[in-house]
Symmetry: C2
Subunit: 62 residues, 2 copies
DNA sequence: TGAAAATGTAAAGCGTGCTTGACATTCCTG
DNA sequence: CAGGAATGTCAAGCACGCTTTACATTTTCA
């Protein structure tokens, strides 16, 4: 499952640590998600989409 | 995280076993999801929404 | 250039998502 | 009413999501 978290984050000029704090996860989790090491849980996927103001389907692509 | 899997399934007159087969998960998983015992993985959430022809946000509510 | 910030990675540990197998209960319907 | 279908639930087991701690590498910029 691909995602464009890095692009959305970069567009806002946030560091991985900035994003992690807003999502209430660790910086390593943000890094792992951006690098495609694993998929987020559904609740985290909701928080991510909500933070960026887009639909889940706009952030993640199967 | 709430969901309306049961309503979507019932509207199609599918049994939990029917749905499980189409989603490629066990019947117990469908039952657990409908009863809110846990949330699905993101890939499974995508399969569920896609099967019902709706957005993930229409099936699951934080 | 050199120091600080940002990013990448690893290991160990905990909780959860999903499995199979089995069994109990409830619901249909012939 | 009887018997099968559908649903609910439990237990054991495996893989993954996320954590903390720690350290290496890359990037940025004064």
């Amino acid at each position: 499952m691909k995602n464009c978290i890095q692009e959305l984050r970069a567009a806002r000029k946030w560091s991985q640590a900035d994003l992690a704090e807003q999502l209430d996860v660790s910086r390593q989790t943000v890094n792992a998600l951006e690098r495609g090491r694993y998929d987020p849980s559904l609740p985290l996927a909701f928080r991510i989409a909500r933070l960026f103001g887009v639909a889940i389907e706009d952030v993640f692509q199967p």
